[in-house]
Subunit: 368 residues, 2 copies
C-alpha cells in the first residue's frame, strides 16, 4: 500500500527509527521535488512530489528544519516516519526527522511558480521543465502505462513483436509525403552518394514487413515510430507518431480483426483508468470534461459496424462523415468496412463482389 | 499445457469430436505451415509449424487425406483430436479428421527445400521467406521475448517510459555521424527548405531528453531506434539499432546504476532462457556452442568492476582491451568506471579528483 501510494521514491532507509523501540517500520527516505512550503509557528508543512503520481506526499516537520534553500522546485531527500494522516485529504503523511536539499532552486529565476496553474502555451517555452507541470506529467504517465499495456496485450495473446525497419526504401501505400535521409558527411562530395546505395526514407508503415512475418508466426505486431512529411499543420497531422500495427494469418473475416482492435482498445483504456485514476481525473476535470462519460460508454458497449447506404458510392470519407457516424452510433467507436476498390491501395483483398467492387478493408472512427 | 505446447494457432474448434461420446475435449483446429510430409501405406505423417515455437506438431492422418497440394511450405488448417503421442520425441500429436490447404506452395519454385539446412547467406536472398528459416525464426522469437522483458523490468521497477523523439536537431554527444532528414517534395524547389525550419537529424541517443524527464519522474527509460551514419562496415557498427537508456535521479553512486544494469541483463536473460528454451538450444547447438556456459556463468556471478592500473592513463579502451578485461575477469560482464575527463563529453559529472581528473562515467564490456 505504501509503495503504491508513494511510488518508487520511497525506499526504506537503512537507518533506524528514533522511537523507543527503534523499529524500522515505516521509517523511510522520500526523494522528490518541493511543490509547496507552508511554515507555521509550530509546524512546517511541505508537499513533495516524486513524479510517480499526481499526488504529493505531505511532510510534517519541526520548524527548526526549515532552511533558506528549502524552496518551491528544489530537490529534497526527507527521512522520517510514515504515519496515518489525521487530515481527510490524504491517507498518509511523513513525519520528518531530517530534510536534505539535494538540488536548490532559485525561485526568482525559476519560471514555474508555486500553486499557479500555468497555461500550456507558457509552459511550452521551457521544454526542460514542462514535465513538472501537472497536466504534462499526467499525460506522460498515462502514455507510459498505455505503452506498457499495448505490449502486454499482444504478448499475452501470443503475438510475436517485430521491430520493423525505420529506415526503408519502401514507401508502403505509395503516398508521396516521405522524409528522405541523407548522410551529412557525404554532402561535401560533388556527387551526392546515398548511404544505402538507393534512396532511403523514414517508414510510413511497417505493414508490408509485418505481412511477411505473419507468413511464419501467424500473429505479429509492431509498435514504433512512424513518419509523415505532410505539408500541413493541423491536429490530424504529425510528422512523427507511434503506431500499433498487427497482422493475423489464417483469418478470413474482418470480424476477427475488429475484435482484436476492440479488445486492444478496451484493455488499454481499462488499464489506464485503473492504474492512473488521478491523472485521468485531472483531464476529465480540466481538459476534456465530456470525455469521462464517453470512455465509460465505450467500455460498456460493443463497437459498431455501420452500413453506409446514404453516402455517395465511391466517395471517400471525410472527417465530418466520420464524426457524424460516431455521433449517430451513440458515441462509440465505429468500424467502416469494405471500401470501394478504387479508393484503396493494391494490397487490399478483392471482395470480388461484382459491380460494387469492394475490398476487405477496415477503418475506424472515434471522437475520443 | 496444450496451449503452451502448441501456441496460439491451436484454438478449440466449435465442431464436435466424432468419438462415441462426441466430446469436445482436445478437439482442435491447428493452423500453420507444412514442414514435412511422409506418406506411408497405412498412415500419413505431417509436421506443421505455426511459428509459436521451434517445434512442429506431428499430425497423423489416414492416407486418404493426402492431396496433391499438401506439400512442404503450404499453409494448412487441420482439425482433429490432440492425443498423447506414443513416440518418445514428442508429447502430443494430432489425429487429423480433416486437412484443408489454405495456401498451396509450388515446391519447384519455392526456394526453401524440405529438411535442408540452408546457409544464412542463401536465405538472405529471400527476405520475404527467411523468417520461416529455423535460425531466423528462433532469433525473432527471442528478440520479441527480450523486448517484452525489457518493458516489464522497467515497468515493474516503477520507471516511466518516455518516447524520446526520433527526429531531432540535437546531436547529443557531438559525433559527426548523423543521418540528415530532407523532405522529398521540397527537393524540386530551387531553394531547399527545411521541413522544421532547422536542419533535422535522426537521433543518436535520447539521453538529454531523458535527463530532463528524470527531473520530474525520478526513474525514466526509453527503448527505441537509434541511428549512426558511420562510414564503416563492421559487426560493431549498425546504421539502425535499438537501445535501452535509463536515467535515475537522486543517485550519487555509479554502484546503483551498475546494479540496475546487472539486474536488467540478468532478468532479460533468465526470461529468454525460460520462455524460449528450444530456440536458445538451437543457437547453443549450431551457432555459438561456447555461449551456453558463458550465459550460465553470467547469471551465477556478480558483474565485475575492475581497476585499470596497467593501461596507459588517458588512452581510450579498444575492443581488444575490452576482450582482455572480460577474459581476465572470468568471462562475466565488466564495468569500466571513472573515465579520464578529456575522453568524455561535456555532460559527464566531474569527479573533481585532482591531477587524474576523471568523470563519473560507466561503460560495460561483455563478449556474449
Amino acid at each position: 500500500v505504501f509503495k503504491a501510494r508513494m511510488g518508487l521514491g520511497a525506499t526504506r532507509s537503512s537507518g533506524r527509527c528514533p522511537c523507543p523501540w527503534q523499529c524500522s517500520l515505516n521509517w523511510i527516505t522520500f526523494k522528490g521535488w518541493v511543490r509547496s512550503v507552508r511554515s507555521q509557528k509550530e509546524v512546517l508543512f511541505l508537499h513533495i512530489n516524486d513524479g510517480s503520481s499526481l499526488e504529493s506526499l505531505q511532510v510534517v516537520a519541526d520548524p527548526s528544519l526549515e532552511k533558506r534553500d528549502l524552496t518551491f522546485g528544489s530537490a529534497v531527500e526527507v527521512q522520517g516516519k510514515l504515519v496515518k494522516s489525521p487530515h481527510k485529504m490524504q491517507n498518509m503523511e511523513l513525519q520528518a526527522e531530517t530534510i536534505h536539499v539535494v538540488g536548490p532552486c532559485d525561485i526568482w529565476s525559476f519560471p514555474l511558480k508555486m500553486k499557479e496553474r500555468h497555461p500550456l502555451e507558457y509552459v511550452r517555452q521551457f521544454p526542460h521543465l514542462r514535465c513538472r507541470n501537472n497536466t504534462l506529467g499526467a499525460l506522460l504517465r498515462i502514455r507510459s502505462e498505455a505503452t506498457a499495456s499495448i505490449h502486454s496485450f499482444f504478448q499475452d495473446n501470443g503475438y510475436v513483436h517485430i521491430h520493423t525497419p525505420i529506415i526503408t526504401s519502401n514507401d508502403c501505400e505509395g503516398a508521396g509525403e516521405l522524409f528522405q535521409i541523407e548522410v551529412s558527411w557525404a554532402k561535401e562530395s560533388v556527387e551526392k552518394s546515398h548511404f544505402f546505395n538507393v534512396p532511403a526514407f523514414l517508414t510510413v508503415s511497417g505493414q508490408l514487413h509485418l505481412e511477411v512475418m505473419a507468413g511464419a508466426f501467424t500473429h505479429v505486431f509492431t509498435f514504433g515510430p512512424t513518419f509523415r512529411a505532410e505539408n500541413s499543420q493541423s491536429r490530424r497531422h504529425l510528422a512523427e507518431f507511434y503506431m500499433v500495427e498487427a497482422e493475423l494469418s489464417f483469418t478470413e473475416s474482418l470480424q476477427d480483426i475488429m475484435q482484436v482492435m476492440e479488445d486492444l482498445f478496451k484493455t488499454v483504456t481499462s488499464t489506464v483508468l485503473s492504474k492512473c485514476p488521478r491523472d485521468v481525473e485531472l483531464f476529465h476535470k480540466y481538459v476534456a470534461p465530456a470525455q469521462k462519460d464517453r470512455l465509460e460508454q465505450i467500455l460498456k458497449h460493443k463497437f459498431m459496424m455501420p452500413l453506409l447506404l446514404s453516402l455517395q458510392w465511391g466517395c471517400d470519407l471525410q472527417t465530418e462523415h466520420e464524426k457524424y457516424l460516431v455521433k449517430h452510433c451513440g458515441e462509440v467507436p465505429v468500424f467502416v468496412v469494405n471500401y470501394p476498390y478504387d479508393l484503396k491501395p493494391f494490397y487490399m483483398r478483392d471482395n470480388e463482389d461484382g459491380p460494387q467492387h469492394t475490398v476487405k478493408c477496415l477503418s475506424s472512427a472515434a471522437t475520443v
